[in-house]
């Protein structure tokens, strides 16, 4: 399968991807990993709130809300 890298913020609601890596310091990375957002996991965008609002994603059947500043630092592989 041909994939391309996108940031989580670029994904439209309903789109899926595989978490590739994080762009941030170790504290940021640990915060994401311990809540269940980890490299290699499949992720679905549930909704993206308008007007700069947060993004809600689903990983392993669990939903997590994160702000756009964090979403833009999550790099995801999506089917091209």
């Amino acid at each position: 399968m041909i994939t391309m890298e996108k940031t989580l913020l670029d994904l439209e609601p309903g789109m899926q991807g595989i978490i590739a890596r994080f762009a941030g310091n170790p504290g940021f990375v640990r915060k994401l990993r311990t809540i269940g957002i980890r490299e290699g996991k499949n992720l679905t965008v549930v909704t993206r709130h308008p007007l700069g609002g947060p993004v809600v994603i689903e990983v392993d059947g669990r939903e997590v809300t994160l702000g756009r500043g964090m979403a833009v630092r999550v790099v995801v592989d999506v089917a091209a």
């Binding site: 504290g27 640990r30 915060k31 990993r33 311990t34 809540i35 269940g36 980890r38 549930v46 909704t47 709130h49 308008p50 007007l51 700069g52 609002g53 947060p54 809600v56 392993d60 059947g61 669990r62 939903e63 997590v64 809300t65 994160l66 702000g67 756009r68 500043g69 964090m70």
Partner: protein
């Protein structure tokens, strides 16, 4: 006595297990030197009684916030750890499990929400997990109590794990993956109708409609339960009490002691709202007018918390609160503040940084009237027409937003973004809900009611020595020229520091126009928190923070009061 510590991620039903283990005799208090609440109780193990501590939920022992720091510290007090794990989400929970076991403390694992995992088609090989972790593993259902007895029995076998050795963070993630892969099987599951309904509550448009409906229902329920408690429980109690105070009144005869204890008799009778005596109004207002609503409010809040709705509300509110320098959780102090500003002030702890907590606390003190005050606003302005009540609340909403936008720009510091897990909807655990409501009500009685009572005493004393009239005269110029209010309103504002609801009541005899009342009532909300909230804020923000907040409050009150005067009355 042994100490058992409950450790686990947030939203794993830890408090349900805690209340199963301890029953209702539980104390919740600040962890020494911090602002994090920790619950402690007692239980009986095979080898005698033991203390139980419910550590705050944490994802890891490398803390990222004060609550997690406390959790990590409490682990040091443990003779035995019960690691409460969410069976429906084993992989994520195991990270903390491994970190805990690496510390070499005797432990047992409770695989909680076991029934829910079954419904979701998740099976876990308990025996194999026990081998791999090297400590007892017991499936539990906190809601029904299933597995709790076995958990208590097997705590006797708890010992430091022989299989889990200290490892690096990367190694730990690998181990988590290996263990999960070996013990867990997940049957593939399609999205159900319930899933779709749950998702509707976090999507922007449908979510906001649901949120408005939930909030409206919550306030209606609070009102209904509160009124029910008043007319069926508290007022009948005071009816029994009336003959006793009347007798006391006769015995005392007129004089200063009568004024302070009983207050003024109105038409030869005690009027519990207006008499203003320590033993009349001083007891009636806190217990028969405020407490019933507080009980109702905490009950509804606990239910909202336990169902898992609040993180969704925070997600929806984030777009708005983010602009005011907070994030979605900023709605929690607002929501709580409408009940009583004291727990609202405490709830600012859900925000991570000093800047965010400062903004949340200041805005709440400025623009969120508590239940007691709201009731008085309706009582005083309602008879003139609902439009005047609306004017007050619109003014306050404008103040909240405008002050928030400004504070976000001028207050230095960081504003971390929202980051939270949305737990699945769950039926509230009635035991845990009841316990939580009871603990919060007890906290309110302990923290706020003494100040309310003291407030009446101080007001009565100052009133009877003529000090209040003196102050009113001093503030009269500001009142009359700037705000267009009679000098007497200054007394109400001063009393408002002690008792906002009573202060609203004190505006009535001044014979003001409805427009003047709108100005006075709005000012009363904005200019300063009541003394109970003030004490809590002082503790939460520190002296410097409180001074800055007070400056914002007084300035805003004068600006808004002046503006309202121009709009409503003219020059």
């Amino acid at each position: 006595m042994k100490t058992v510590v409950l450790m686990g991620n947030p939203n794993v039903g830890k408090s349900g297990i805690f209340s199963r283990l301890t029953g209702t005799r539980v104390i919740t208090s600040n962890y020494a030197g911090t602002t994090v609440d920790v619950s402690r109780g007692k239980t009986r193990l095979a080898d005698g009684p033991a203390a139980v501590i419910d550590a705050p939920g944490t994802y890891s022992l490398a803390p990222t916030n004060p609550a997690e720091e406390v959790a990590a510290e409490i682990l040091g007090e443990a003779d035995v750890v019960v690691n409460v794990v969410d069976s429906t989400n084993l992989e994520r929970n195991l990270y903390l499990t491994l970190e805990t076991l690496e510390r070499g403390v005797p432990a047992a694992v409770a695989l909680n929400l076991w029934d829910e995992a079954g419904h979701q088609g998740i099976t876990i090989d308990v025996d194999r997990l026990e081998e791999l972790l090297g400590v007892p593993v017991v499936p539990t259902v906190g809601l029904s109590g299933q597995g709790i007895r076995e958990l208590v029995e097997r705590l006797g076998e708890a010992r430091p794990s022989a299989t889990i050795q200290p490892m690096s963070e990367e190694e730990r993630w690998v181990a988590v993956g290996q263990i999960t892969g070996e013990v867990q099987k997940i049957a593939h599951r399609h999205h159900t109708l319930a899933d779709r309904l749950a998702e509707a509550s976090i999507r922007p448009t449908s979510g906001i409609f649901i949120a408005l409906a939930v909030i409206a229902a919550a306030f209606l329920a609070v009102r209904w339960i509160g009124e029910g408690l008043i007319s069926f429980v508290f007022e009948p109690l005071f009816d029994l009490y009336t003959p006793i105070v009347m007798r006391a009144s006769e015995l005392l005869g007129p004089g200063i002691l009568h004024d302070i204890l009983i207050g003024r008799l109105i038409g030869g009778e005690i009027d519990y709202v207006e008499s203003m005596g320590l033993l009349t109004t001083g007891l009636f207002v806190p217990f028969a007018m405020i407490l019933p609503y507080i009980v109702a409010f905490y009950l509804i809040l606990s239910i909202l918390e336990d169902t898992g709705y609040l993180p969704r509300l925070a997600t929806l509110a984030d777009t708005f609160f983010h602009r005011l320098g907070m994030h979605g959780y900023g709605i929690i102090p607002v929501f709580l503040g409408f009940g009583c500003n004291v727990p609202g002030a405490l709830a600012t702890r859900v925000l991570e940084t000093k800047k965010q907590r400062f903004i949340a606390a200041t805005l709440m003190s400025l623009a969120i009237p508590c239940m007691a005050q709201i009731a008085m606003v309706f009582g005083v302005l309602g008879p003139f027409g609902l439009q005047y009540v609306v004017m007050v609340f619109v003014s306050l909403a404008v103040v909240y937003v405008a002050a928030g936008l400004i504070l976000n720009r001028v207050v230095p510091g960081e504003c971390p973004e929202i980051f939270l897990e949305i737990p699945p909807y769950r039926a509230p655990d009635l035991r845990a809900t009841a316990t939580k409501t009871w603990m919060r009500v007890r906290g309110f009685v302990g923290e706020a009611i003494p100040y309310l009572f003291l407030g009446i005493l101080v007001v009565n004393l100052l009133y009877s020595v003529g000090f209040l009239d003196l102050l009113a005269a001093a503030f009269a110029p500001v009142m009359e020229t700037w705000l267009g209010l009679p000098a007497g309103a200054a007394v109400a504002l001063l009393v408002g520091f002690l008792r906002k609801d009573l202060a609203v009541g004190m505006l009535v005899p001044l014979g003001m126009s409805p427009e003047q009342l709108v100005i006075a009532v709005t000012m009363l909300t904005i200019y300063f928190p009541c003394v109970a909230t003030f004490v809590v804020l002082l503790r939460e923000l520190g002296a410097r923070g409180m001074l800055a907040a007070a400056g914002v409050m007084v300035t805003t009150a004068l600006l808004v009061g002046g503006a309202l005067r121009v709009i409503l009355i003219g020059f």
